[in-house]
């Protein structure tokens, strides 16, 4: 077990757990979506890079790269589809108190 791989796996696990805490802790749907975004971008990348450093076999590294690219292309599409479905069905976000919400309400279809 080499050190760099262990380091990447450690950071990835920490980011993943942080995202998990975020999804339990944040107050509404839209903010939870950001917590999921953390686990789907950098945490996934870190863990997969950690695995790439484990095994210098070429084909395995290529497959890990395919998984990483797929995750990075899929996750924004899925989150955008989910957010759009939520806003079209009138699920309003809990906004910060200081912000005036008039603008958002008038531009909402």
């Amino acid at each position: 077990m080499n050190i760099s791989s262990a380091l990447f796996l450690l950071i990835g696990s920490f980011l993943c757990v942080s995202g998990g805490v975020g999804i339990l802790r944040f107050p509404d749907f839209y903010t939870r979506m950001h917590a999921v975004g953390v686990t789907e971008t950098l945490a996934t990348a870190m863990i997969l890079i950690g695995l790439m450093l484990q095994n210098p076999d070429g084909l395995v590294v290529l497959k890990l790269m395919i998984i990483l690219l797929m995750t990075l292309f899929i996750s924004p599409t899925a989150s955008h589809a989910l957010a759009q479905a939520a806003i079209h069905n009138d699920l309003m976000p809990e906004l910060d108190k200081k912000e005036d919400n008039e603008k958002v309400k008038s531009s909402n279809p």
């Binding site: 757990v17 998990g20 939870r32 999921v36 686990t39 998984i67 989910l82 699920l91």
Partner: protein, 91 residues
């Protein structure tokens, strides 16, 4: 470290499924299931390395695709009435 990472992913999956059970809105549940699916992909890849069988990666690729299609498939029906967020529902 591989084992530790696997346990961390399992803990995160438990957290995601907790949010899925708690809700409170339908979208939280879909979000939680989506997250559970992507973490399953990671879990399968990690398990492949823990067991010394990198062939598991093929299954992980297929799982990533199925997970994406299932989320988009569910959202195709987002115009139907069960998706309407009623104001009586507690936020």
């Amino acid at each position: 470290m591989l084992i530790a990472a696997t346990i961390a992913i399992l803990v995160v999956m438990i957290m995601a499924i907790t949010r899925g059970i708690m809700g409170p809105t339908l979208y939280d549940r879909i979000l939680a299931v989506n997250m559970f699916g992507t973490k399953t992909v990671l879990l399968i890849s990690l398990l492949g390395f823990v067991m010394g069988r990198p062939e598991f990666l093929d299954i992980a690729i297929v799982y990533a695709l199925i997970n994406f299609i299932s989320v988009i498939g569910v959202l195709r029906y987002s115009d139907s009435s069960i998706f309407k967020h009623s104001s009586q529902q507690k936020k």
